[in-house]
Amino acid sequence: MMSRFSTLGLDRVSRDFGGHTALEELTLDIAGGEFVALLGPSGCGKSTALNCLAGLLPLTGGAILLDGERIDSIAPERRGFGMVFQNYALFPHLTVRGNVAFGLKMARVPKADIVRRTDRALETVQLTGHAHRRPGQLSGGQQQRVAIARAIVLEPRLVLMDEPLSNLDASLRLEMRTEIRRLHQSLGLTTVYVTHDQEEALSLADRLVVLRDGVTQQIGTPGEVYGRPANRYVAAFMGYRNMLDVTVTAARGARLSLDLAGARITGLGRAPLSAGDRAVAALRPEDLEPAADGPARGIPAAVEVVEYHGREFAVQARLGDGRPVHFRTARRPAPGDAVELTADPERVLVFPPDVPAALGASRPGRRPGGSPRLRAVTP
């Protein structure tokens, strides 16, 4: 019954909304069995891309090809894709069983098969005992499982998931994440997964597509996107919280010597840069640490705010010129302490300054407490 495909091609898929381009020429090839995540902040076009793929939104440009055959003009109900919605979109008047069996009924599957396949799907998501409940009587996590069962019971060629975990609380989210990964491993269903949570995307997907304002920023494996972000925007989104304006003082290939408000550091250029260029050094807080006592050769900074994070402390400090910098340390510093910060040159990524990293400030990964507002609190 399950029909596999070898490639699903998105060829310059675009979508405008009355003059506003929500998605601009997304080109992507998805292999059968692959798990692809579309990642970006809200409004970046990731859900638009998913809805275009589902057929719920017509394209304004480009084509979607399934094994070379155009499918973008086919109605959503005839594409044979399954979809999990952000708010689950369960049919409130049907029982759990009715929800899961709905697609099979639509496909006019024989009654006995409906029962058998529904049972199996409910078993897969561990909801056998709740088959006769209505969605309103279920918890968020259970509703989520119903939505997943409803999407996979038809063994669709492609499963689309639109931020399926964003309505769950933190612990349930982790649990369901593992669940989704497990389902993908055991059923091998090709999946396109939309999320704004980079941790979710990194942990689930085989490949990531990072979007911003409808424009594709980077396509790559989790390792590539995490370790080698294509531009400072992707870097900011992947948790490179420190975006420091620097001047290149010397360049030897990709290895750059940088001047940071008088301090000298070395970093890895992610684009051609030469001596004299202004640039941005991107650094994760966890890659920046205070130097041990001794001849200090790091960036001088003054500790301002200290947050306890269990195994370590998250610290906001200020550079000599007043710019904030974030780092992690195992030893508790006191506000006002002077520190010298050092970093592995391999982990200092240097980007040209021309992409505004508007997202760096407002979406600093998933760590709490880093909001710029906190600066005013401490003396």
Partner: protein, 313 residues
Amino acid sequence: MTRVREHPPPPGAAPRASASRARPALRHRLAERGVDRTLLLLAPGAVFLVLLFCYPFLYGLQLSFQPQRGGGALANYRAFFGDPYLRETVWITLGLAVPVALVNCLAAVPVAFRTRGPFRGRRLITTLLVMPITLGTVLTAQGLLGYLGPGGWLNKTLLATGITDTPLELVHNYWGVFASLVITGFPFSYLLTLSYLTGIDPGLEQAAATLGASKRQRFRHVTLPLLAPGLAVTFCLSFVLAFAVFPSAQLVGDPRGETHVISIEAYQAAFQKFDYSLGSAIAMVMAAVMTAVVLVVLAWRSMLYRGATGGKG
């Protein structure tokens, strides 16, 4: 999230194809603006209303300029405004409708305010308040004639308790119609006020309470300003209902004198004298007067805050 459109393509991003896309098909462009086949569902209703609401209205307007007895296009209007007996109907009707609408609105606010929250017996109370809708004009009229009449229970009580010496004259005059309009109109203004009131987020009042506002201050400075636009609409609807008073003016009023309202004249012209043209003209005058009053109230309303009230959408 910022949605900056004009930014240079980032390095390392998928190259932006410079070839301009073909303009999307008309059907798609229309669909983008919300015009698609779903709108056909509107067609039966719209056609029906154009045929049975707009067309008759325009037909009546046109008819009103073609007097049956000749005398030029404006003869009907001249006849209406030239005759003091006819002209007076506008003032009589306004004199009924404005006070009735005011009383209904003002009485509805405290009652709705009391009954908005959940309490035991709320269902019964609201049902009782809404019940007069079921009475119908005739029962109300019969009841008023009997109850408020010279020998009715009210006058009997007043006389028995010595509050008055002579029976009050409450029917077959202005007050009979007034009472009838309040009884039938109050449930509407109450329900409307209630629905506006429940649309205001109770959190706002609680917030004001935490800021030290007393109950009266909260009502005066939080609830009332948010309710005022709704009250304006309520007033308009009560006014319009009362302005079109017809059967009760005949049954409990004094249809040739104190309650000689405009709708009686319109009806008699059209269906008793069979002067459809004059009847239409009077109906148009009615519509014009109502529109004028409603516009005045709505103009006042437009000066009020009319944004979200935080409650139900």
